[in-house]
């Protein structure tokens, strides 16, 4: 099976296999991505982030249904943490999306973080490109939502939706995670719970104080995801954001930045791989490790030496 060609002809099996090839770094992954790349750039990429249990999966399900009502097709990537001990994972986001499974205008793929720390998996951006090339109008990316460096999603998405919930005790949660800076749109989910007003007021205040987004004041939308309340309005808020982003030039500058970062990351990886390979040929690396360990040599000088030898 020629995966890229089949995918471009609309094969969902090829789509699925392409993501696997990239995720597992199979030999044909680069060829596939080379063929698909010219077909990317058309999907609206929306990142959905927020603490575990906030209702991200439920909201993703409801937003996808809203886009389907608008006649758009939707690709979904749902990321859950990989266990650092076993390397395994339980990917359970689909539980909230079962009604979408049989819709041929939707494709859902679960991914484990597989050792990546930033709330996305290392291969998320490639998986997004694959869904984009297949032709989905919207790609929704649900992050793992651990409060680490959720900044990853900002670099990857056109619109970042931050989902917050009342009653997590500490409403300053937003500031702490640096989440104010990353949100283009905020959803306060579980608006049926106590403490919504307070969270809403605090969030408004913080966003007013926040100087980094003068051009676009992120809107806050209350939703009750499991009942589907507020979803229309949320989709409208997202739509306004993307229109504004396109008019202001932010959309293009973000994408240019993304391309730049991706190129640099690819270069880093290639150079790193090259250096490691050369290191084997260079021999005596283990010896050098020992001499650094025994303080006979210092690591800075050793690295300098290796670099001049390898990259001569």
């Amino acid at each position: 099976m020629n995966i890229a060609d089949e995918l471009l002809k609309g094969s969902r099996l090829a789509l699925s296999r392409a993501i696997t090839a990239v995720e597992n770094e199979y030999d044909d992954a680069v060829t596939i991505m080379q063929k698909l790349y010219p077909h990317t750039g058309n999907a609206h990429i929306i990142g959905i982030t927020g603490p575990p249990g906030a209702g991200k999966s439920t909201l993703t399900d409801k937003l996808a249904k809203e886009y389907r009502r608008q006649g758009k097709t939707v690709g979904i990537i749902a990321i859950d943490p990989t266990s650092p001990f076993s390397g395994g994972a339980i990917l359970g986001d689909r539980i909230r999306m079962n009604e979408l499974t049989l819709d041929q205008g939707v494709f859902i793929r679960s991914m484990g973080t597989r050792g990546s720390l930033g709330g996305l998996s290392r291969k998320t951006s490639e998986a997004i490109k694959i869904l984009d090339a297949f032709g989905f109008d919207v790609v929704l990316v649900e992050t793992v939502g651990v409060g680490q460096s959720e900044v990853d999603i900002v670099k990857t998405a056109d619109t970042t939706l931050v989902v917050l919930v009342p009653g997590l005790g500490d409403d300053i949660q937003a500031i702490k995670a640096g989440i104010l800076e990353i949100g283009d749109v905020f959803a306060i989910n579980k608006a049926d719970h106590e403490g919504v007003d307070r969270l809403h007021t605090e969030l408004e205040m913080m966003l007013d104080l926040n100087q980094t987004k003068i051009e676009w004041r992120p809107p806050i939308q209350r939703v009750i995801a499991n009942r589907g309340e507020g979803i229309n309005e949320l989709a409208e808020a997202i739509e306004k954001q993307i229109v504004h982003s396109k008019e202001s030039g932010q959309f293009v500058s973000r994408r240019t930045n993304r391309t730049k970062n991706e190129l640099l990351a690819m270069l880093d990886e290639q150079v790193g791989r090259y250096v490691r390979k050369q290191l084997l040929a260079y021999g005596k690396f283990d010896e050098l490790v020992m001499s650094v360990e025994k303080r006979e040599k210092n690591p800075y000088a050793v690295v300098d030496d290796i670099m001049t030898t390898i990259l001569r």
Partner: protein, 130 residues
């Protein structure tokens, strides 16, 4: 390089709890597998489509309601229709010994009856997965 075995743990049929499936899911995760768990009451169509979207290597079906003679072969059929020829399909639950040969003929590779240790299941998957 980064390859992981992906397993869809699915519960077809209408029976109401998934304790057994969850125990298996956790054991598989601890054995290093990526487990896609879709919850209760999945139709054969949903299971087959989820397996395709997730490109799983293994489908582990768990069933208590006794509809295995109908549901398991139906899922095998749908999976093959989708062109997924290399998926290992296994089943578990309260399944009478007399039914097992027919299920195997239908394409269920192995059937694990209640009391089977999760280690047995894990070893089986490791030995037989493509």
């Amino acid at each position: 390089m980064e390859k992981r075995v992906r397993v869809l743990v699915a519960k077809p049929g209408l029976d109401g709890h998934d304790r057994g499936a969850k125990v298996v899911a956790r054991a598989l995760r601890d054995a290093g597998f990526e487990v896609i768990y879709t919850g209760l009451r999945q139709t054969p169509e949903q299971i087959a489509e989820a397996a395709l979207q997730e490109d799983v290597n293994v489908i582990a079906l768990s069933l208590l309601s006794g509809a295995h003679n109908h549901l398991f072969p139906r899922i095998v059929e749908l999976i093959r229709e989708k062109g997924m020829t290399d998926v290992l399909m296994i089943g578990g639950g309260v399944i009478p010994d007399a039914d097992i040969p027919a299920l195997k003929t239908a394409g269920i590779a192995e059937v694990f009856t209640p009391g089977t240790s999760t280690t047995t299941i894990i070893d089986y998957i490791n030995a037989n997965v493509n």
